[in-house]
Amino acid sequence: MTAASVRTWLLRAWVTLVFGFLMLPVVVIALASFSRTSYLTVPPKGLTLAWFAKVLGDAEYVHAIVFSLLLALMATAGSVGAGVAASYALIRRRVAGAAGVAALLNAPLVFPGVVVGVALLQFYAMVHLNGTRLGLALAHMVITVPYVVRAVTASLQGIDPEIEHAARVLGASGPVAFFTVTLPLIRPGVVAGALFSFIVSFDNVPVSIFLLGAGQMTLPVKIFTAIEYGVDPSIAAISTMLIVLTGLGLAVAERWIGFHRFV
């Protein structure tokens, strides 16, 4: 073997090991969720779908799943609306202090999640938004809007502004030109931003955990507290469902808009 081929071989071995490390917990959870035992074990002892049935028959889990989905949809709708408008203003309009505005829009991403969470806990207690769905939705919009702005500004920067000008010259009004010409062109960025928003909201613990009121529960917080109480294969089952859904979603997003370009 030549030195070059030894190098290639070593590099591939390292890459394989690191990918193995990345996938290890995922594989372990998926396997453990099929075990007949009441404790986590890999390889699974016996095969059963009972833990999946238990989760899907558990009213608390079902409620948490529905609550998380609705919250993520609301947060995504709000942050895409506000984020696309803000990105358009930053790229296509002359705004004094645009750099400062961009930094502010990015700030919720930079600040530690736990700090945003406790700050909102205190503030909502003062203005009587504590335990409300509105407060929770606003909090989730704040933490998701930076992702929309980042993806959409990247898309807008790649589009020639003259295309929209041409539409205006040909008689289209501003909104018509935006919605029929520019928006379709930046669609991949908007879709990527919306996907990020949805995932970030659906996954969030550090902000949600401080703001959930009585009768409110998101899925990740539910799993988080369930783990703190004790580990059993039903947690592995709900985790496996999330693994499969995330994998499918990502595969679809990659085929649809080439998702890896936006990461």
Binding site: V18, A85, F111, P112, M141, V145, I223, A236, F259, H260
Partner: protein, 281 residues
């Protein structure tokens, strides 16, 4: 370009930020200097006690030190594990490249609680790692891998490795392959070309990837809480307990502002560094 409509378009986002970010974070400043009396709560007046305790009490200093050491170690570990992977993904001509990149992204998109849960199953006393170590005869009894530094290091390295790889892929892709070839033609060995050409040229990526992972590590709540338990504390889990268990919001606010100041200072310094080296971070 018109300017008037710019602010109108920015209004919804800025209003959202003002109400649900700027005001809440700003109001932590006055809270952090209020006295706190146990069983009574927050009282009027002014005190710097929460800050002085944070910076002098050995209990808090240990937690702050642990958080920073963890940040450094996790950054080093992700760099070591991730650089070769990023190098491979940036240079490979395989048609599987995009899908391999997506495989790096996948853990990032997967629920954080789920990923951490996997490590609980792996690192427990009777978990898979301990079973494997004992089966191979490497250790006699089970090794403690949860609720200590080792557990947090392994879990956080796994969680933040994808960020490091993705940043480094971008940086390495920007290096023209010709520069390396030129070094080889001029007589450098592969190792020499790598150490003197490729590695220095990817330094901006190493810097921004490291800052990103460090900041994420010292900010992380979920993974340290689940793998460290209520006893092995870092700054974010300390803040969590201060607000939800001990209800000492003034002390929690001071801790939150210190953590935020550390994060912002790091980002500022790295921005200055990147500008000085003429790189974009």
């Amino acid at each position: 370009m018109r300017s008037g409509s710019g602010w109108r378009l920015l209004a919804p986002a800025l209003l959202l930020l003002a109400v649900a970010f700027v005001a809440p974070v700003g109001l932590m400043v006055p809270t952090s200097v209020r006295p706190y009396v146990p069983l009574v709560g927050i009282t009027g007046g002014f005190t710097a006690r929460h800050y002085t305790r944070l910076l002098t009490d050995s209990y808090y200093l240990e937690i702050i030190g642990r958080t920073l050491v963890l940040g450094l170690t996790v950054t080093g570990a992700t760099l070591l594990l991730g650089y070769p992977v990023a190098f491979f993904l940036a240079r490979t001509r395989s048609r599987w490249r995009n899908w391999l990149t997506i495989l790096v992204v996948f853990p990032l998109m997967l629920n954080l609680v789920v990923r951490t849960f996997g490590w609980i199953a792996l690192l427990a006393q009777n978990g898979l790692v301990n079973q494997a170590l004992q089966a191979m005869g490497l250790v006699d009894g089970p090794v403690k891998l949860l609720f200590n530094f080792a557990g947090l290091l392994i879990g956080l390295t796994h969680i933040f490795l994808p960020f490091m790889v993705l940043v480094l892929i971008g940086a390495i892709q920007n290096i023209p392959r010709d520069v390396e070839d030129a070094a080889r033609v001029l007589g450098a060995s592969w190792g020499g070309a790598f150490l003197r050409v490729t590695l220095p040229l990817s330094a901006p990526g190493i810097l921004s990837g490291s800052i990103l992972v460090f900041v994420l590590t010292i900010s992380a709540l979920v993974t340290p809480r689940l793998l460290g338990g209520p006893t092995y504390q870092v700054m974010s889990t300390l803040i969590y307990d201060e607000f939800l268990q001990r209800l000492n919001w003034p002390a929690g606010s001071a801790q939150s502002l210190l953590l935020t100041a550390m994060v912002l200072a790091l980002i500022y310094v790295s921005g200055r560094l990147a500008r000085r080296t003429g790189a974009s971070a």
